[in-house]
Each structure stands twice: as structure tokens, then as C-alpha cells.
Amino acid sequence: MSSVGAGYDLSSTTFSPDGRVFQVEYAQKAVDNSGTVLGLRVRDGVVLAIEKPVISKLAVPGANRRILSADRSVGMAGAGLAADCRMVVNRARGECQNYKHFYGSAMPTEVLAERIASYVHLFTLYWSVRPCGASTLVAGCDQSGGERTPQLYLVEPNGVVQRFYGTALGKARQSAKSEIEKLDLSSMSAKEAVKAAAKIIYQVHDESKDKQFELEMTWIAPETDYEHRRVPADMLAEAEAEAKAAIEAMDE
């Protein structure tokens, strides 16, 4: 499993002799053990999907959103400790509003992703706080002149930010990533990506090990006027039905 910290892992302000900060790596483990989250950036938009384990039969389905909006055209999905995810999104919301107030126009997604990365990085510098146990996918679509640029960024607990065409987080990330690599993301439309994301989530979900899950999806597409919105219920149901059918076809 993981290497033993041997005393260098008690504080995030301590380096190990081989140059690692163990506390930050352990925070990454919190992300790696969560439910699958995936993001796809396609030709005309971005799709975010998350596999939420159903904690109780009495929980209201469709509530307890895990994918949140930071601004009208920016969505964020978190993997890892859910409360840490909310903390990051709240900060992002504040950043977007401040930027709009000061500069008069919407915050570019790249600038937001870098700000969030700096924010998350702060928690790895001080002894008095613990590192953020959440990775965040930031999905946005900037408008410049007449052009629209959909973008997807991943911000990790160590403060690193990277731009992606498609990526996955959580327990089944390796198999999800290999499925994503098979897709032709740059020519796919957002509508097709919704179906593809649903298929991947169902495919990598481990029936034997994990509980029942609820699929939550959002998208930014021409159909939503490039605003970050939940995938409509009928479209989601259709995508899920197709995903289940594909699984059954594979099992035969």
C-alpha cells in the first residue's frame, strides 16, 4: 500500500528526506478513495459527471448537489471530502464576484482555476491548518469577441492546476481514464458527451464492492446558452437507460 511516513508525516510543514510532503500526499488519498468524478471537454462545451453513493433510502434523490456553479458559466465538481469541496467552491464564487465588480466583466476560467489552485496551495503551507482533502474540476466557457472557448481544469490538493480534454478522479479513475482515451473528444458534441460520460460512469462502477449510486451530471453547451446547468431530467434518464443497455449488451 502506501509507504510509511516514519515520523516525517506528522505535519504539512515537514519535508521527508526524499523531498515529499506526506500530509499533502495523504490528502490526495482522500480524493483517490472517493466516488468517480469525470469531466469531458468537447468541441462545443464541457460535461461534468459524478457518481454519488446513496447513503440512505430516506435521502431525497436529486438533492445534496455535488456539482456546483461558481458563476453563470463556470461549474465545479469536487472529489474527496465533500465539505472541503464546498469550501473551495465558496471561495471560487467570491473570486468570480470580486473580479466582476472590479474589472466589469466575467472572470476567465483560466484565471479562476489558477486562483483556486493558489488558494488550495495555501493550506499546504501552514502548520495550523490541514491540506484540503478535495480535488476540483473547474469547467467553464469563456467568450471573447464572438468566439467561445470551453475549458476544463483540474486543481489538486497540492495546489497544482492542469488543463485537460478529459479526466477522471476517484476510486475507478484508472479504468475511467482509459475509457475516456478511447473517445474522440475534439469532434464530439456536448449532447453526445453526456451519453458518453453516463456510459463510462456505469461501466466503471463496481457492482460487488460499491453501494447503489445516483448519477449527477451538468453541462455547458450551446443548448444551455453556454451557462452551467444540470442536464435536464429527460436527457439524463435517456443517457442512463442507454448506459445500462450498453452494460447488459456487454455482459451477454
Binding site: 474589472y103 466589469g104 466583466s105 476567465p108 483560466e110
Partner: protein, 230 residues
Amino acid sequence: MAYTQVNIPVSLGTTIMACKFGGGGDGDSASGVVLCADSRTSTGAYIANKVADKISQLAEDIWICRSGSAADTQAVTEYVRNGIRQHCSMQQRPCTVFTAAQLCQQIAYNNKSRLSAGMIVAGYDSEKGGSVYGIPLGGTLAPTESYAIGGSGSTYIYAYCEKFFPTDAPLTREGAIEFCRKAVMLATMRDGSSGGCVRMMIVDSAGSEKRFYRGNERDAYEESRPATNQ
């Protein structure tokens, strides 16, 4: 005994204006802007600088006309320049005229009780083409589709500008230059705090061009008018 006070705050009692030109009539972006200003800086009755340059640069193709307290407008200009540099560095793209005007307005509004600064921000960017924004005392952001005038001398040319700004077709580049130059010159002939020469900046997709018109153009204008008491 009367004496000239030289320790009064330096003021830019002035005439400044900026106007858009070009662009189609159906909401196409304007091809450019002309900024124009007089050149008198006064300390009370003493003209501290008769060839002042009241048009300052905020970014490569974004300029600002300054009126009011010289110190206040220079300080605001420096802050806005700094803000623009940081903003461009962050977003890796040139600044838009709107953002420059917004930054200027934020400073003017948040310090309204401390500042005496009337400004006009104008320039060219690839998103909106030529744009003009007036930022009068108090810190309003006033976008305009035609022109903006400011400073003490502007009161004398409100009627002139209203009458002679063409409403049937957009101004051409030469038309805009003539319109602004004439207006500022006329203002300097009536406002005691405006005078000297006329400085101009023409900004379009090709960049910024600086122009200078000597004060003796006023004499040429006077000569050209018919004698009235014959």
C-alpha cells in the same frame, strides 16, 4: 499689493473631448477614436504650463484625457496603468478599453470625497473597436456612442458639438479630427482656463497617432470671419 500666488494647487481647468469615428450604421464597431485636449495648466491666474499634455497613455492603444486637479489625475492614471499591467499579465491578453475605464471608475468612485478628477477614457481594442467612456466627478461610468466632452471649457461648446456632430452617417477619420480640433479651439477662445495649443491622439486598428496644432490657428480662424463693425 497684488502678487501671483504660486502655491495654489495646480489645476487642469481645461477642455477635453473624445469622439468615435467610422463603423457602419448598423451597430458595427467604430473603427477608431479621436482624443483632443487644450494645453493650459493654471495655478490661480498664473499659467504654470502653456503646452501641457493632458492626454496620457494607459495601455498601447488606450488613452485618457485628464481634467480637474493635475495631481489627482496623474495619481489615478498611474494606479490605472498599474492595474492594467497586472490584469494583462493575469489573463495573457491585451486589456479592453472597457476594463481600463472600469478600473478608472472604481478608483474615482471609491475615493469620491478625496478626488477632483474628470476624465475621458478612449481607445481601440479588437473586441469592440473604438470606444469612448466619460468618467465625470463622482465616479460615474458614462459610455457614449458619439462623443464625450469635459473640463471647464466644455460648457462653451455643448451647443456647438450638438449642432455640428453629424447624425445621418458616422464620422470619417478626417471628419472626426476636424470636429474635435474645431470644438476645442472654440472652447479655448472663451474659457480663461483653457488655451495654448491643441493636442490630439487618433487611435484605430493601425495604432495611435499623435498630433499637435499650434495656438495661432485661433488667429487664422478670427481672420477668416467677416468683420462685424463696418
